[in-house]
Every structure is written in C-alpha cells, then in structure tokens.
Symmetry: C2
Subunit: 376 residues, 2 copies
C-alpha cells in the first residue's frame, strides 16, 4: 500500500506529455506541477495563504536546512512540518543529499553515509540513508526522497558510475529504513550525462518499486542542451504509472521540456530567488525591474497576467520599492514569479488535456522569439 495514489488522466496524443492526479495524505495535486521551494520551512517572502492564491498545490522543504536549524526533533515535537509552518497541503522533502554534497570540502563520503560540517557553525554531523529517512519521518512530509549521491559536473565516467551504484545501494537501505505508512518514498535516478548509466540506475531503482521516481543530478552546471537531452531519454525509463519528478529544475523552458518528456513534478528556487534580485518572468521573456527603462512605466509587469501584483502595481512603483530595498519588493516580485510558474503549469495541463502540448511548446518559444535547444 502506497501513501499516495497517482493516476494519469490524459496522455497527449502528440508527445510524451501527460496530465495526472496525485492524491496524498494532505490533499490532491494536479500534474504537471511546480513545487515552490520552502527551504527553511517558509517559501521566502510568502505566507501559506498567498501560496494558495498563486496556485501552489505542494511545496518542497529542505531536509538539510531543517535538520541544521531548528532541528527535525523540534519540528516533530511541534507537530511536524505542516503544523509548524501553517501549511496543510502536501509537502515534499528532499533527502538532504544535494545540499550535503554542495558543501564541498566540508563533507566526506563513505559507503555508510556522509560526514559533514554545518554551514552555520562548523559542527560535525553524519547522515546515512537510515538517518535521512528518520529525519524526514520526523519532519512528516507527504513525499520523502531517498538519500542519494549527486556527483559533481563534470566528473569522470567511472566516478559517476560508482556514484550511481552507491545511490542504488543507499536507495535499498532507505526503503528498508522507512517505517511510516503515511509517507510516500521516491527513488532518485543518477548517472550524470551518461545515457547507459541513467538506464542502469533507472532499471535498478524500478526493481525496488518506489512510490515515485526522480531524476537527480541535473542543473549542476551542464549546458541546457545536455540537460534537455537527458530529460528526453530519461522520461521513458521510468514507469508510466508512477509520478516522475525532475529535481531542481528550472527555468520556464526547462519545465516545458520536462513536461514534453513526460515528467510530472518540478521544483526550483529560480522564481523566488530571482524575484528577490529583481528578475521577473513575463509571457514574452524576463525583465529586470532595476532597469532605468521602468522608471516612469505605469504599466504592470505583464499586461496579460492575472495576478494581484499586475492588477495593482506599476513597474515604476516596483522599481522604486526594489531600489529602496523594501521588503514589499521581494514580496510582490516573488508573488508574481510564482504566479507565472504555476499559471504555466495550469496552461500546460490544459494544453495536454486538449492534445495540443506540442503546439503549446512551439508557441511558448515563439512568444520569446527563441528555439528549443534540441530539435525533437
């Protein structure tokens, strides 16, 4: 018995894109879906109510950060992550692997797990697959992730191969360690930019029968073309009847390519982080609100956008807020960008339901006067 129930509602007749419904202990999610990132038990600058208003159905929280501060045991004592952060819809936690491996010199990998130093105070910690599951069980997300090794890019073929094998052995240990019935566990396919390694990893993980499958190790410095190519051949490697998730992706075009390749779930800090830096998404590309060209501009960020920000504020005001270092700048920019991302997902779902995702993808690029990075 899985804690989640996934159903493909419609397979687009013209491509691999599909729409679906994912039911979790905290409610139902329409797929394809984008998950805003709430690293420290808050999606930066947003309240939970605002996340609902922009169309968020599930959010991601980072296990590493919450383990370090305030600590998973404290979160558990306060009723778990949903209660702690006042968000009663679905949550997915990553395993902490990606963050731990990002620590570079501060960590050491062995068969058993990873020893690392906190980025906050330098204190020593050890996370094994079993420990990653225990921490995620304490946090209490609806979907939890296997502890994986995310190899750097570029890396030697042999390193990536051994790393993917380690990730498979850790995935088995994660499955064995899992004790809660009300959480779903996803496996993470590794293998870098090597098709044979991705195939081997996917095949071995499929044999372990996870509740869902993710592609890890993308957006680590590779070219867009490589990223989109990996997406393209990885989609078909994963079971049709399970949710497929590309981790840490991406820009709007990456989401479009991911959906086109048959993926259902995405997460990325891009809409929120870029918002705080003044970079805003529109249907015809990005703008930077800092630019002097917006000084006297009474128009909103995007004339065609239906969000609260575009309905009430001029670019001139947003530029003033940004230049003045006002908190409201981060708030309104984040609001708009998340609305943009989640509307893109809603539009994609509609296009799939009408068997026109291929056309949707073409129009997406045409509006931006761009081309897909790879022709397919």
């Amino acid at each position: 018995m899985s804690a989640i129930d996934f159903n493909v509602i419609h397979n687009d007749r013209g491509c691999a894109a599909r729409s679906g419904s994912l039911t979790t202990p905290h409610g139902r999610i329409d797929t394809p879906i984008f998950m805003p990132v709430g690293t420290q038990a808050t999606v930066k600058a947003m309240t939970p109510e605002e996340l609902c208003e922009v169309g968020a159905q599930i959010i991601l929280a980072n296990t590493y950060h919450l383990y370090i501060r305030p600590g998973h045991e404290l979160v558990e004592r306060l009723g778990g992550l949903h209660s702690f952060m006042h968000w009663d819809r679905p949550i997915l936690t990553d395993s902490g692997g990606f963050q731990v491996f990002s620590l570079g010199e501060l960590r050491k990998i062995s068969e058993d797990g990873v020893r690392f130093q906190s980025h906050l105070d330098g204190s020593y910690h050890f996370i094994s697959p079993e420990r990653a599951i225990a921490i995620q069980e304490a946090l209490g997300a609806d979907i939890i992730m296997c502890f994986d090794e995310c190899p750097p890019y570029p890396a030697e073929y042999d390193y990536v191969s051994r790393s993917a094998d380690l990730t498979t052995r850790w995935a088995l240990r994660c499955r064995e360690a899992k004790s809660r019935d009300d959480q779903a566990l996803f496996g993470i396919v590794q293998g870098g930019m090597h098709r044979d390694l991705r195939e081997k990893s996917a095949s071995e993980l499929r044999a372990l029968d996870f509740d869902g499958y993710a592609i890890g190790g993308l957006s680590v410095g590779e070219e867009k073309e490589a990223m989109h190519r990996v997406m393209g051949y990885c989609g078909p490697l994963l079971p049709d009847n399970k949710p497929r998730y590309i981790m840490g992706i991406g820009a709007p075009e990456d989401l479009v390519e991911g959906i086109y390749s048959g993926f259902d779930m995405f997460d990325c800090v891009m809409p929120t982080r870029n918002a705080r830096n003044g970079m805003l998404f529109t249907s015809s590309g990005t703008i930077n609100i800092k630019n002097a060209s917006h000084t006297e501009e009474s128009a909103p960020i995007d004339e065609g956008c239906g969000c609260y920000v575009c309905g009430n504020y001029s670019r001139a005001y947003l530029r003033h807020l940004y230049r003045s270092g006002e908190i409201l700048a981060s708030r309104l920019n984040t609001w708009h960008n998340l609305y943009y991302y989640l509307s893109l997902m809603a539009d994609a779902r509609k296009a799939i339901s009408e068997d026109r995702f291929t056309q949707f993808r073409q129009e997406f690029y045409a509006k931006r006067e761009r081309q897909p990075t790879i022709d397919r």
Copy 2:
C-alpha cells in the same frame, strides 16, 4: 472650507480623552487613531490589504524620503501617492522638516528655508516652506503638514524660543503657499519642553486657523516624564473642534497618555521597526522573539490576541524565522505589532464612548505591572 471635517463624538466624562470622526477626501477615520508609517510609500513589510486587515485607517508617508527618491514629480505623474502605492484610504504626509533637521551636519537653516545634502548621494537641495507645500501637493496626501523647525534636545531656551518663532513665520508662509482645496493643512506647535514657549506657539498658530494642530519636537531624547508632562499641558492649548496630533509618538504607554491628554492622532515607527528587530507587543508587555525561552514554545505571541499571526503561528516558529533571517519573520512580526497598536486604539475609543478611559488607563498599567510616569 476645509478639505476635512472633524467631529468630536464623545468627551470622556472622567478625563480629557475624546473620541471623534475625521472625514477626509479618501474616507472617514475614527479617532483616536494610530497612523502606521510608510516612509518610502510602503509601510515596511505590509501590503495595503493587510493594513486594512490590521485596522489601519490612515497612514503617514515621509515627504523628505519621497522627495529624494523616487521624487515627488514622478509620484505626481503616476497619479499621486494613493495611486502609486495602491492605497485608497487617507494619507498624511509630514513636511520633511523633522528628517531634514535630523541630517545634522548635512543641513543649514536660514530664514528662507533649509539647505541640505541628500543622505543617499550627498546632492544639494533646498526646502523652503513654499517648497515643502509644493512637494506635498504633488504627493497628494489628504492631510499635509507645515514646514517646521524641530530643535534638538537639549537646546538653550533662547534657541528653542527663536526656533518656535521661525516655525510660526514658516507656518504663515505654508498657509499662503497652499493652493489645493482637497488637502487639509495642519500647523505644528514647537517650544521644546518649555511651557511658556509651547503656549506662545500654540496661541500664534491658532490665530492662523489651521485645519488641525500637531505637537512636534517630542520623542527627541527627553525623559518619558517630560514627554508626558508636555502632552498633558499641550492638549488644552489646542482647539477642541480640530484634530490634535502628537507627531512621532510612541510606545503604547505614550499613546495612552496622549489620548488621556486629549489627543486624537499618533504616528510612530516603533511597531514596525521593533517588529523587524524581533520585539513584539503583548497585553502584558513586550517580548523579544529571539530569546531562547521561546525555542519550544507552541503558544502564540499573545494568547488573547485576535490577529492572523497569533491565530496560526507559534512563538517557536516565529523564533525560527527570525533566527533564519526570513522575510516572513519581518512580515508576521510587523503584522502582529500593528494589530496590537490599532486594537489598542479601538479599545481606547470604546472605553471613551463608555466614559471609562481613566479606568482603561489604570488597567493598561496594571496589566504591565507598571505605573504612569506622572500622576495626574
């Protein structure tokens, strides 16, 4: 014809406190009222809708800051301050005087006005009474203030005396310069901590028949006792039938003392600024959310508070957000503090309407285990 209409609804039978109704071009205000400060055309960390939700009826914006950035002419071209910042309720702008005088070495005062350097780029500017009015007319607030000199504290009696005289001459020039019929102009009584100077200033300004009267030059470093004493004797110096405003005040007890002395309007950065530093107001005093004692505390800031924050978040979560430097910390803390201030005003109005403001004041101090600074 005044642009505003003020009516005293009820004089408390036990003290000088009164409740009233102030009608402006952008709507009606219940008095006594606290005005959240929106220095740079935003009350820091809050949207206009949230300001309504916490009970804000009028906000204050700072002329100096908006003159410097983005510039009053830009605001005017974008439809005025209400439209620019998406706030359609009343606004009061200060004259810029207080900020300009706070610049210290960067400014030089003459009979004609003040020459000063921008705190942002060191550029030179000159503001005269006429210019202060022109800037405020461009911004378009409902209530604008005379350009006054706010003397430092402590200052020689002779300096304060000459300064108050200058403020009176400038007040006349402001009245003469004013050209818009849809803005009310308030005079500002100066005179430091000297009763005779305050009496002279009030008397001279009353002769100029302003739409309302403010007490300036408080909360400039003096003891609380001195501040409350000045409030106590200044209230009766001002007309009964005009709104009475104490500028830049204050802590909750200062508002209670101000209301007790017959004042109707208050503004201060304290609830918003202190919120961003983790200091929160409760019915039994202040707490600092940073304190380790809140680490595991599942209770809200104030059990008796009806605000969104106290209804949904624990002290433990708020402490986590604060320690993590999250924007949501500033948001939720500000939300609660403004709700506290505006609820205090609503409770005060109710007490006045029931002739029990003296008792309200006693209970206010008793809950905090404190005493009024001066017995009266």
